[in-house]
Symmetry: C2
Subunit: 401 residues, 2 copies
């Protein structure tokens, strides 16, 4: 008995059958005596289809008009879900982002939520309606439609939960929760009952795309309890919250990221400020650098190696070619046959030897480590992409055997 926010992604409402399945989950929650607010994304490929329509007419369409176009996607899914709930005999009302009070910044395509004025949602709940809200969208100060960027529906759901002090925010996906490793790849991967916000954030940035990062950050900030669970299987999922007493595990998961490129600047001058010059160039173009390794200088020269996400790879290589042309150096080498494998766990902060245990597992599996990076609750290694699955399994077995 309380207020529950439930979020369903595009694949959960991809067709009539799935929409009716979601309606059944939602009405079950309602029948248990809860107030229910549902946040929905656009159906399946709707957003991609709309983007393709736009590209045919104008590949450089303004972001304002793109947002006008794309927000029609959720408008379709919310009304269809409301109709499905009506067909089960329950009262329901669908609301667009602006009707639900989502005030955002002005930046089309990447707007951020400024506040959720939840009076209308509250009024509809008071009328005993199940309230369906369009995720991913809001309205800016010009009264124009805005979108929060891909994955923004998670953020919409958490924002409502925060604004209305909901008892729980359930994020329904196509997996049953957060696992210690990818269950399709690692045989004895197991579902976590609980995980804390920081670990979830580290896992998300590591390519375990269960939850959108902004939504986890917001949930942490406003102490919104999240649950990640499947829309297809009726089972408890994984709770994301500030867990005081973790399950005495050293690590909560092993993750892998293959969308990565390693770039090496070979033989650049070994003089002060070189690293600064390299990385400030990349930062100026908004290219995020992950692992960095710098060789010890010899004969007045040194090597600088780092990794970037695949999306920035061409631009990063071009920038480095320019750098060598203007500042000297032998050559730029890049390698996309790499993967980053990471372990995440709050336990690392208090337990020594966690990283050593990971390296031992990799040694026993005969996996060569190219680079290493560590943070307080994470240790990552860069390895050959062909070793990635083997490495994840080996590490997982070491910690969860």
């Amino acid at each position: 008995m309380g207020l529950i926010v439930q979020k369903f992604g595009g694949s959960s409402v991809a067709n009539a059958e799935r929409v009716l399945n979601v309606a059944s989950i939602v009405t079950d929650t309602y029948k248990s005596g809860n107030d229910v607010v549902v946040v929905v994304s656009a159906q399946g490929d709707t957003t991609d289809d709309l983007i393709a329509k736009a590209a045919e007419i104008n590949p450089n369409a303004s972001k304002r008009e793109m947002d006008m176009l794309l927000t029609a996607g959720e408008q379709i899914s919310i009304s269809l879900l409301a109709m499905a709930i009506e067909s089960l005999g329950f009262p329901s009302v669908s609301l667009l982002g602006w009707q639900a009070g989502f005030k955002t910044t002005s930046s089309y395509g990447t707007a951020r939520i400024k506040k959720v004025e939840s009076e209308r949602i509250r009024a509809e709940l008071d009328k005993k309606n199940i309230v369906i809200v369009a995720g991913f969208q809001g309205i800016n100060k010009y009264e124009d439609m805005t979108t929060l960027g891909r994955g923004g529906s998670d953020t919409s759901a958490v924002a409502i939960a925060a604004a209305m002090n909901a008892d729980k925010c359930q994020i329904f996906t196509d997996v049953e929760g957060v696992y210690t490793a990818d269950p399709r790849k690692v045989e004895n991967a197991r579902k976590l009952k609980e995980i804390n916000y920081d670990e979830m954030l580290e896992l998300a940035t590591l390519g375990a795309q269960v939850l959108n990062n902004r939504s986890v950050e917001m949930a942490k900030k406003y102490s919104v309890e999240l649950e990640v669970l499947s829309s297809l299987v009726r089972k408890p999922g994984t709770i994301v919250k500030e867990v005081a007493n973790m399950e005495k595990m050293l690590i909560s998961g092993v993750a892998k990221d293959k969308d990565i490129l390693r770039i090496s600047l070979v033989g650049v001058p070994d003089e002060p400020g070189i690293a600064f010059k390299v990385f400030s160039r990349l930062a100026a173009k908004n290219i995020n650098v992950d692992i960095i390794l710098q060789s010890v200088g010899r004969d007045g020269k040194k090597d600088i190696t780092f990794t970037v996400g695949s999306a920035s790879s061409k631009e990063a290589v071009a920038l480095m070619e320019e750098f060598i042309a203007s500042h000297g150096g032998e050559k730029v080498i890049s390698d996309d046959k790499v993967a980053k494998v990471s372990i995440v766990g709050a336990g690392m902060e208090t337990h020594a030897g966690v990283a050593a245990k990971m390296f031992e597992a990799l040694y026993e599996a005969q996996v060569n480590i190219q680079m290493i990076s560590t943070s307080e609750i994470k240790t990552s290694v860069l390895i050959n992409v062909d070793d990635a699955d083997k490495a994840v399994s080996a590490i997982h077995n070491e910690f969860f055997k």
Copy 2:
């Protein structure tokens, strides 16, 4: 140089090529120094596709949710048209019904425009933007999406023209204007340069579906000059306005309507109040009756015959069966093999013998007249549907030879 409102229907924006064609028409008007407001319907079959999606989930969906669903259709077309105009290098902004100030009554699916608060449109024109407005939609006092019913985009366009005192309202369709008869059927049918509002209204109700009737009524009320023209051929169309001096034509057009059913109540009691009882039953169910014919009573019995639109035919027949069961009478006969052929023209008011000339043409063509109905500017006959095309040609030749 002035303010021009241009309306394009769904077929005019059905695909990328057509959207770009509309953009070219719109920008030509803008380049001539005009302020331009464009009203657009949903693309091609979008509305039907959305209705089908809804039917799959809930065949009895609430009208509120249907309107939420359907209004997404114009949202897609307005943004695509704005992108097309941008691609031609002109400034443009798309507005949803509510952003453009369309305040409507509350009745979902059949809302009527209460007022157009045109400040936002005016502000965008002042910024030199070509303003694209979603037709067919508005917002009610609950801040919910409403639709004006099918064909409502014409009304949207006229409402803007009226509210902003536009110099002209151009309705682009797939025909080049208003013709004296259907040009696909009658060889020497010719396009009218001008027609007045009342004649246009009569033609519209007679099945010459060029303009939505509500839009013509509104145009008449607010003296908005309309032009009906083609979006595919760049030619002047037909002007609809209060024409003082008509082109000295007796009639302005011949129209045909095949979506009609004739119903006869045979042998009902010849007593006072029978006709009242019959037609009040139909009126109570919102069934419009067109031509009525009542036989002279004989042996205490009489026959009543009338026509209704095909959409109401089942319900009307059922009502009449009930009527006979409770009030007496021999039987109900219905016939859908009928067509109504009509001539329309303000000239009839002042010229005698127009109807006679029509009947003569039908006689010469050996077409049997089943029923006759007349108004001040219209004469209609009910005939066998197989004679319809022959009748239209014969009448057209008689008046326009």
